[in-house]
Structure formats: C-alpha cells, structure tokens
Symmetry: C2
Subunit: 194 residues, 2 copies
Amino acid sequence: MAERLFDERGIAGTSLRAVTAKAGVNVAAVHYHFGSKEDLTRAVVLRHAGPVNAERLRRLDAIEAEAGPEGPRVESILEAFFRAPVQLWTEGGATGASFLFHEPAERIQPLVEEVMGEMASRFLAALVRALPHLEPGEVAERFQLVIGVLIHVLSGRMRWEPQPIPARSVDGRIRVLVDTLAAAMRAPAIEESS
Amino acid sequence: MAERLFDERGIAGTSLRAVTAKAGVNVAAVHYHFGSKEDLTRAVVLRHAGPVNAERLRRLDAIEAEAGPEGPRVESILEAFFRAPVQLWTEGGATGASFLFHEPAERIQPLVEEVMGEMASRFLAALVRALPHLEPGEVAERFQLVIGVLIHVLSGRMRWEPQPIPARSVDGRIRVLVDTLAAAMRAPAIEESS
DNA sequence: GTCTATAACGGGATAGAC
DNA sequence: GTCTATCCCGTTATAGAC
C-alpha cells in the first residue's frame, strides 16, 4: 500500500499516519514491525524492486541462453529490461520502486546501488557485448539515458496537454521504448573534437 | 540560493529555516516578501526557468531563421533544447528549475505547464516539421522521452560506480545527447500489430 | 502484538516591537 | 522592512495498558 503513497506524494511528503490509515492499523505498529520510517521505506523498496529485478534477470537469462555466441541483440536486451516494470505500471499503477528515483539523490544512492546494482551490471555487460563499436564507458553513459527514460515513463508525467500522445497497449509502449532507444544505443561513437 | 537546497533535498525536504539560514535572513522575511512557502517555490521556479527557456527559444529562433523552407534538422532542434540547461548545470550545478520534476506530479503539474508549456510547444512544432514520417502524437511521445533523459541528466544521478562514464566537455555531453536522441527520434514509426 | 496516550521535536505561519 | 517571540499544528517515536 505504502508504495502508492510514495509514488503520489514522495517519501518526505508521506506521513506514517497516512500509511497506517490506508492500511487500517496504528502508527505504533509500524515502529514495532519496522523500527522507523526509514526502515519501512527500505523494506517497501526491497519488497517491490526484488521481484521486478528478478523477472528482468530471468528474461535476460532466457535471451542469453537462446542467443548465439555473439550474444543477444540490443533490442532483446532492452525489452528484457523494460517489460516487467512497464507491464506492472500499465496494468496496476504499481511501479516496483520507481519512486526512489525522485527522492534526493544523496539520501538514497546507497539503497539504489544495493537493490539495483547487480541487475544493472548484468544488463550493462550484455549491452557492452552487443555494442562492440562503443567503449564500455560509452555504453554505460547511454544506458544511463535509457534509465532516465524509464524513470520518466514510470513517473506518470508523460502527458502532453495540447498534443495527446497515442494510446498504446503494453506491447506497443514497450516497442516504442525498445525501438527508439535501440537506435540511440546504436548511434556512432561520439569523438570529442575539443 | 534556495534552488540548490531544492535540488539537494527536494522541496518537501527543505525547510524555510534552512533557506533563510543560508540566506542570512529570518524566517519572517520570507513570509513578508513571498507570503508562503508555496509562493516562494513558485517565485524560485519562475526566476530560474525563465532565462533558461528564453535562451532555448532564442536558439530555436536562430536556427529556424537560417534554415530553408523545410525547417531545421532534428539535431539542431535538440541542441537548442539541451544547450542552455546542460551548460548551466555543468558549469555551476545550477539547473534552472529541474528540481520541479522530482516533486509529486499532481502537485506541480499546473506550474510545469505554466512555465514550460509555451517553450515545449514551440519545440514540439519544430520537431513535428522535421519528422514528417511520424504523426504529431508520435513526435510528442518521443519528445517526452527526450525530456525524461534531460531530467535524469540534470538530476546528477548519472553515475556508474563499477563502470565510470567518460569525462566530457560541455560540448561533448551535448553531442552525446543530441546524436543519440536524434537517432531515437528518427527511428521508424511503430505500428501496433495487436 | 496491537492499541491509547503522550512525549519530544520541527514545521509553517503570525503578531508585534523596533 | 526586518527582527524576536510565539502560536499551533503535524510529525516521528516511545511508554505502557491490555
């Protein structure tokens, strides 16, 4: 339950009272079970990001198993990265733990590293293999752009008042992300002229 | 001054006392000059986003003036969109008002529309003209991805611990953004098969 | 284990002196 | 106009009854 409030109001803007009211319990119960608000948010993040990341890695394992020795294509890797969170968000409004990325950076950087680090490293390694024309650092740089896009999509701010964006199925949403960002990943390396 | 605190801690996480302490004045002064914390944040946003958006539009005007009847290229439009905020952020850590996009969506949507709406519409129109193979709604959809990338870049979260991303000059940063995202914008239209 | 009651604190806002 | 002092509220956290 709490993750919805964190999505809508942010962590700092969500009081324990709001969480407990929605859960039908008392404020003291939170402290009994979690110890503090920070421990609660940590538990919520681990609880929700865990399955999403596990599903991502399961899909990555699958496409790596059926790919040849050159490894899976960029499109397949990006789809494995996007599908679980986008599907979850489209269906139920739940987003795993995307609200984390709207919190102050310094505060939650260790938690992000802890909960996302291994998954992200696996995807980065796959992308490095699929993009031999780029240095690993350049792949990491572009993967960060992909992450930024996903955060924005999951933030629910992807609206345009005067010019509505097309209604899409889950597969359609994912295909837009995968096809456009694969093109971005494949763009030639940038050489600094300065 | 307040914008730095908003960047670092978020609006909800920044107390008026923290703002006034850094400014060397008293809490009452804020209420005298602005009326409330909300009015202060609004003033900060308008104060900082205004010049950035004006510079963006100035650059857009320039490239439209020197372009042929087919209008400027996607790369030129994206550079006009990115240069002012990225330059400001790289040089001084100031970001215009990017902290707005990490606040709860519902709360600040009207302000975002007010301060960004006209600028964004002008850029969207230019992109629609430069991408005749896409419906206007599809261009808006992809422009949202560009916006998500910019927000992420300005958030300062674009780090990668085990795999450092390349050090770049301002021009280098912008070129990466422009070249990769131009490729994303140019990718063929997605037709839903479902 | 879950509640009520309350402590201890920090927040935004305001009154009134100067 | 800018300060000090204060109000009043909501917050996290805890103590203790049950």
